[in-house]
């Protein structure tokens, strides 16, 4: 297992995702001799996981079963331990495409936070690209670096513990893309420009508030960035279900005098019609943040 390469069998030291049910998953560090408690009972790593195929069904001690999935950045995003607010897959997908990330891309990111976006970036730029990520919170920086190693992507990423607004990304003229998720991105726009290649590149800033976007856009325009384009993507999840709509009883139909015999029994003639449809969730995330994209022209 690695976050950038599929493998078929679960091995000692892997991170696997235990799928307990819809919207209920947990990450598991696979270790010889270790056990994991789930609400369906215990999973014994040595016998239940190691050597098994990813995607197989594992029967737990209480007789229930779970599926064990190969880790992906998307599964990690919904299971990772939060140390900060994180970016979710909808925004990550948009960022990845609009920053034009692909194998070989060199990317700068700040802050690293819980590493949700970082894993997605690493997946996309592997095997020849690199991520330079900056996190000013020392403990978070250490923790995330440890996770990268555990997930076998450590060789693709450099974590720097510094303040991006003051000290920049620690690299200059190497990046194809820069991503900012910090409270005052406008203070880092100059550093973003410096980190990008002389031939140009793309930048994205994520901010929850429109005032932040305004300041960032101003700073971007001031630094000569082009194609400044703030946007927002919202995800709608449709719940598939069968609904039944009752039909009203209009009483006996005069025109067709012969009423079917069973209708006289006093039971309603019309029951209901069942149909497959989707319903919108009662509540949905209406806002995560504005994504501001821009292009650095060649200098």
């Amino acid at each position: 297992m690695s976050f950038v390469e599929y493998s078929d069998l679960i091995q000692d030291g892997d991170v696997a995702v235990v799928y307990l049910g819809h919207d209920s998953m947990m990450p598991v560090k696979v270790q010889q001799g270790a056990q994991t408690q789930t609400r369906y009972g215990v999973i014994r790593h040595s016998t239940d996981l190691i050597g098994q195929r990813y995607g197989s069904k594992v029967t737990c001690s209480k007789g229930g079963w779970v599926h064990v999935l190969h880790p992906t950045p998307e599964l990690w995003t919904v299971t990772l331990p939060h140390r900060t607010q994180i970016l979710y897959t909808t925004d990550i997908a948009t960022i990845t495409m609009m920053l034009e990330l692909k194998p070989g891309s060199v990317v700068c990111e700040s802050g690293t936070g819980s590493g949700s976006l970082s894993h997605a970036i690493l997946r996309t730029v592997a095997p020849t690209g690199h991520l330079h990520t900056v996190e000013f919170h020392q403990q978070r920086a250490e923790k995330v670096a440890e996770e990268f190693k555990e997930h076998r992507v450590g060789h693709l990423v450099t974590v720097r513990n510094q303040d991006v607004c003051k000290d920049g990304f620690g690299v200059t003229g190497v990046a194809d893309a820069v991503f900012l998720d910090i409270p005052s991105p406008w203070e880092a726009v100059g550093h973003a420009k410096a980190a990008l290649k002389r031939q140009g590149g793309r930048v994205c800033s994520f901010s929850p508030c429109i005032e932040q976007v305004q300041k960032t856009c101003e700073a971007l325009a001031h630094q000569g960035f082009e194609e400044i384009s703030p946007l927002e993507v919202l995800l709608r999840v449709h719940d598939v279900r069968t609904v039944s709509l009752p039909l009203p009883d209009f009483g006996p139909d005069a025109s067709s005098a012969q009423t079917p015999p069973d209708a006289r029994e006093g039971t309603p003639r019309y029951g209901s019609v069942a149909l497959k449809t989707t319903t919108a969730p009662r509540e949905m995330p209406g806002h995560t943040g504005y994504l501001t994209f821009a292009t650095k022209p060649r200098t």
């Binding site: 950038v4 049910g21 919207d23 069904k57 999935l69 095997p127 999840v237 989707t278």
Partner: protein, 470 residues
């Protein structure tokens, strides 16, 4: 902008390159060919002058040719810093512009630059000075759009091409909006080194995007309907030649045979394998030969027309050509067979790492058929312009098992105008981007879940589990 000492040739425009022209928000994909007339945004021009220039350069169109634009054209320095505060005295009498249509046409014919025409329009507008600062901005912007004849040449990318297709020909790509495409690539965990199945009728846009994301590592198998795979959009990506080595195709009409194990490639395969070595050599010799044959002939037509010897030679050549063609056809047929066998063996392992479907066909049978080629614990994504067929897919998958994490989604995309004191959403794009059904494969049980497969297991617990199974 055009500084010297740019040693990396990947940033210069070369003949034969696939590029994207951009003006405002309008894009057009095109190949740079010598003396080829290009029509873009009601203007025609030749791209020849762009060769050797750097990507992302902006050009001015001057009588059909491109001229590199000066790095810093003093941006519409409206020295009229005068501005009104409101429009209470601005009357629409249709006479505010003192230049007539004919005057403007003459200005254009004189070869005035867009910038200069705009300045003329401003100078001759009696109301411009009374407009508010914001209205002046808007006026200039509008005129720029109309009179500035510049074009920027970009290196193609998934982002640009997806935006281009959605803007120009959404019907050709099943109304797959670019944010939806972005979701697909991410949800399907497309990355270097995997083996991905693609079924699309989006002109090759989805295929190209997948290939770009895989960077030439791994393999892509394009399942195609009808006579051949559609790839025009993929060509527009201008991907390096070696990326094409990872691309395979398989006609979807053979899927049933392949699944049943009755696909007839083995027999042919064997003969193909035998011939493989000399065929490869054959082909290598053949290909350039055919090409060469055409060009000398063309030359001979030009130089010695009416010559008897030439005529004689011509018939000879024609015969040769026919023979070569027949030979070529044979080789091609063999090649095709060999390819089919190779792809079949790629698929037979049923260990693909991802599946992406975006087509005008009913997604349900496509998904059910192709899902069988995936390894367990691999993602798949289906796009459809309509929600109902995906509901059907969802229901069927839940019935038959073998998948978890099913989600039916769509995304909304909202662009913003952010300007001092003029910040607001641009437009709401809803509905049009299509719907996505995504999920993950898992190993299928021999017994159906819900059926009592192991009597010793406590029933109520199992019941509960089945409920939460998603």
């Amino acid at each position: 902008m055009a500084d010297n000492g740019d040693d990396d040739p990947q940033y210069t425009i070369k003949e034969g390159d696939h590029v994207v022209l951009k003006r405002g928000d309008i894009f057009k994909a095109i190949q740079v060919l010598p003396k080829k007339k290009v029509i873009f945004e009601k203007q025609w021009f030749f791209l020849d002058n762009a060769v050797g220039q750097l990507y992302s350069s902006t050009f001015e169109i001057v009588s059909g040719n491109l001229q590199p634009k000066k790095p810093k054209d003093t941006e519409g320095s409206s020295d009229a810093k005068e501005a009104g505060t409101d429009n209470r005295h601005i009357v629409d009498d249709g006479k505010s512009q003192k230049l007539t249509r004919d005057d403007i046409e003459t200005l254009k014919e004189q070869g005035l630059k867009g910038q200069e025409i705009i300045q003329q329009l401003i100078d001759n507008s009696s109301t411009f000075r009374d407009k508010t600062e914001y209205a002046q901005d808007k006026y200039i912007k509008k005129k720029k759009k109309k009179y500035e004849n510049t074009v920027t040449i970009l290196k193609p990318s998934c982002r640009i091409l997806a935006m281009m297709y959605h803007g120009r020909e959404p019907g050709k790509i099943c109304h797959l909006r670019y944010d939806a495409l972005a979701q697909m690539l991410t949800l399907a965990n497309i990355h270097a080194g995997s083996k991905v199945l693609v079924f699309e009728t989006c002109a090759g846009l989805v295929l190209g995007s997948v290939m770009e994301r895989m960077g030439g590592y791994g393999s892509v198998i394009q399942m195609y309907p009808g006579g051949g795979p559609g790839r025009a959009g993929m060509e527009s990506f201008g991907l390096p030649a070696h990326f094409h080595d990872m691309l395979h195709d398989f006609p979807i009409c053979h899927v049933n045979a392949l699944l049943a194990g009755t696909l007839d490639t083995t027999a042919k395969d064997q003969s193909a394998v035998e011939k493989q070595s000399n065929m490869a050599a054959d082909e290598e010799q053949n290909q350039p030969e055919v090409k060469q044959q055409v060009s000398p002939e063309e030359k001979s037509m030009e130089t010695n027309t009416g010559d008897d010897a030439a005529l004689d030679q011509e018939t000879k050549e024609r015969d040769q050509r026919r023979e070569a063609k027949a030979e070529e056809k044979k080789v091609k047929l063999e090649e095709k067979r060999k390819k089919l066998a190779a792809v079949a063996s790629l698929l037979e392992g049923r260990n693909a790492d991802g599946l992406i479907i975006a087509s005008r066909f009913h997604p349900c049978p496509v998904l059910m058929g192709l899902l069988k080629f995936l390894s367990p614990s691999r993602p798949f994504v289906v796009h459809s312009q309509y929600k109902e067929p995906l509901i059907e897919c969802y229901t069927k998958l839940r019935e038959q098992g073998g998948t978890v994490n099913l989600r039916l989604t769509d995304t909304w995309l909202r662009h913003y105008q952010v300007l001092p004191n003029r910040t607001h959403p641009l437009l709401l794009m809803s509905g049009g981007g299509g719907y996505l059904l995504s999920g993950t494969t898992v190993a299928t049980d021999r017994a159906k879940p819900g059926g009592s497969q192991r009597s010793e297991e406590p029933a109520p617990k199992r019941q509960k589990l089945t409920d939460t199974e998603g």
